[in-house]
């Protein structure tokens, strides 16, 4: 590990990309993630990275398509409205199986919304987002340190599965400053993939990058191949963190910034004699459904905490599959819930009669 630095989440992502041997970054400014583009504009070229401010997020993602298809390790980043513009490109990238890292520093929506932090893009990130049946591998950091770590892992996973990887954070994680140390990473170990369009260079067969398979039978085979890949991800790449779940009677499930808040709520609950625990998914796709299901058999109820109207909530309910009640608490529009209000919601689940009249949530 390198020395410990104090950095913004967005800067940590940019610095990690440089250290991970990212060869190209194509992006467009949007609050609250512009620091990624700014940092790389400042430091990228002299450290050997191509950094280009594109005319739009549509152009950015298609530059990613071209460069990734030619075998380069590449990244783009944006925030919610910009990520929406990239969905067409992401669908093409997923079908053409091009490895890349796409960072979404989620802000409040819908529409132009607000520049404040949100988790409102969960569905878009984990259910595909663009047209057709495909999945991104979605990583959800909760600290600035993880913002950096998951960039390295993201590039490796993208190569391993020939699949776009999304890092889904939020405006608070992008803007907050925390300590971060960057891992040692051997950038020489990555080779240009054999399938890349590098020019034939003596090869007998040409390489083609495409998402077009006009015959239905072929297109179905492509789909089956993709689905098989997603099953492999589900089997091998699930990541999560647990806090005090061993004896937990109430399980909180939250990711990213919400998980940090829920962690504090668990502490408050424990201080008040409620045996609460937390499961924090780190991979949102693949989702830790099996582990959540197992824990559901142990606890009395589950509370999902998000900064949206209840999106991961649906996946938690699917994982619970009716074993225990699953409830939801969330704030929207860029509001970050406090640990106390999450605790109050939990208390209402534990004993509805115990909630005092003045507590309004």
């Amino acid at each position: 590990m390198s020395e410990i630095l104090l950095m913004k989440g967005n800067e940590a992502i940019a610095e990690a990309a440089l250290r991970a041997g990212c060869q190209g970054y194509f992006g467009y400014p949007i609050t609250p993630q512009s620091e990624v583009l700014e940092y790389l504009s400042q430091h990228g070229e002299k450290r050997g990275m191509v950094v280009l401010q594109a005319e739009s997020e549509i152009a950015s993602i298609n530059m990613i398509y071209g460069a990734a298809g030619a075998g380069a390790r590449v990244m783009t980043s944006s925030s919610s409205p910009g990520i929406s513009l990239m969905q067409e490109g992401l669908s093409y990238i997923a079908c053409a199986e091009l490895p890349c890292v796409v960072v979404n520093i989620n802000r409040g929506g819908p529409g132009l919304g607000t520049i404040q932090p949100s988790q409102g893009d969960y569905f878009q990130a984990v259910k595909g987002g663009g047209h057709g049946d495909y999945k991104l591998l979605v990583l959800a950091p909760a600290t600035v340190q993880e913002m950096a770590d998951l960039v390295f892992d993201g590039f490796d996973l993208a190569d391993k599965y020939r699949n776009p990887v999304m890092i889904l954070a939020d405006g608070a994680l992008g803007q907050m400053m925390e300590k971060v140390a960057f891992r040692e990473y051997d950038v020489t170990k990555r080779e240009i993939p054999k399938w890349a369009t590098t020019g034939k260079n003596g090869r007998k067969e040409r390489n083609i990058i495409t998402s077009l398979h006009i015959k239905s039978e072929e297109m179905e085979k492509v789909n089956q191949h993709l689905q098989k890949k997603y099953c492999e991800m589900q089997e091998h790449e699930v990541r999560f963190q647990e806090v005090q779940t061993e004896d937990a009677e109430y399980l909180l499930v939250a990711y990213g910034l919400s998980a940090r808040i829920a962690h504090k709520s668990v502490q408050i609950a424990r201080d008040n004699g409620i045996k609460a625990g937390l499961l924090r998914p780190i991979t949102l796709f693949p989702f830790p459904s099996n582990r959540i299901h197992t824990l559901c058999k142990q606890v009395r109820a589950v509370l999902t905490v998000e900064m949206n109207a209840g999106q991961m909530y649906e996946d938690v309910r699917l994982a619970a599959n009716g074993v225990v009640p699953v409830e939801f608490y969330g704030r929207m529009g860029g509001i970050i819930p406090s640990p106390e209000e999450v605790y109050e919601r939990l208390k209402r689940m534990v004993s509805p009669e115990s909630v005092s009249q003045e507590v309004k949530i």
Partner: protein, 260 residues
């Protein structure tokens, strides 16, 4: 000596004057009879072969009739999203500047849905070749109005003729791009006659040579026909092109390199 052996000997004694370049695959073209795409494909690949750059050339195909260009061009190819070929080409060229990169796009792709990408790729002076096939119609989707459809020209979505009061006049994007400092060489050619085919090949050759020299963006518009979309025979379509397309889209260099 049987007849076949006799033929073999006769062929051996002949000079080859015309053959498929190595850079074209043996696949049967899906294009309609008389369509200009096949000619332009061949010209491109002849030039790539003559310049001996097939090992480092990467093409980007569009969405439109030439969406399957990669079936015919025996080089590494990418198939981009509709309108985004120049952005994909930018991505390739930026990370691998030693490669020779071109995009191949139709009028709907380049001058409608991809206008922003086209203009900004040109304005940045990306060191690529953009081949623009202008046949004034959406051929692939069955003959709808294109940004370059002529005034009063009938298409399936302008059944009474293009009404400029309703949808504007045809977009002369090539002239527009020539105004940008980022473009290095901008020309308009056609493939409707042997003479024009020769001129078109020369423009493509020059463009690849400029790219090999590290010069800026080269833009070659090819005014082409669409016998099916125009509902004409190939011969009629070439005549119609001459009489109607060329007055609106006159042939010739629009911008020549300033340092030559």
């Amino acid at each position: 000596m049987n007849a076949t052996a006799e033929l073999d000997i006769q062929f051996k004694d002949l000079d080859v004057v015309y053959e498929r370049p190595d850079t074209l695959t043996d696949a049967r073209l899906h294009y309609c009879p008389g369509c200009g795409h096949g000619v332009v494909h061949r010209l491109l690949m002849e030039v790539v072969e003559e310049l001996n750059i097939k090992d480092r050339t990467i093409g980007v195909a569009p969405v439109g009739c030439s969406v399957f260009a990669y079936n015919y061009l025996d080089i590494d190819m990418q198939e981009a999203a509709h309108g985004r070929a120049s952005a994909a080409a930018t991505g390739i060229k930026r990370v691998f500047p030693d490669k020779i990169v071109f995009s191949y796009q139709g009028d709907g792709d380049l001058a409608a849905i991809g206008t922003a990408e086209t203009i900004h790729t040109a304005n940045r002076g990306e060191k690529i070749l953009v081949v623009f096939i202008n046949n004034a119609i959406y051929g692939m989707t069955g003959g709808q109005m294109a940004p370059t459809t002529l005034d009063n020209m009938k298409t399936s979505t302008s059944p009474f003729g293009r009404n400029p009061d309703h949808v504007g006049h045809p977009l002369k994007i090539t002239e527009l791009l020539a105004m940008l400092p980022g473009t290095y060489y901008v020309t308009r050619v056609a493939v409707n006659s042997p003479r024009n085919v020769r001129i078109a090949k020369k423009a493509l050759l020059k463009s690849f040579e400029y790219q090999m020299q590290g010069k800026g963006l080269c833009f070659v518009e090819v005014v082409s026909n669409c016998p099916s979309g125009w509902k004409m025979t190939p011969v009629e379509s070439n005549k119609w092109l001459e009489e109607n397309m060329l007055p609106m889209f006159p042939l010739g260099d629009i911008k020549v390199p300033s340092d030559e």
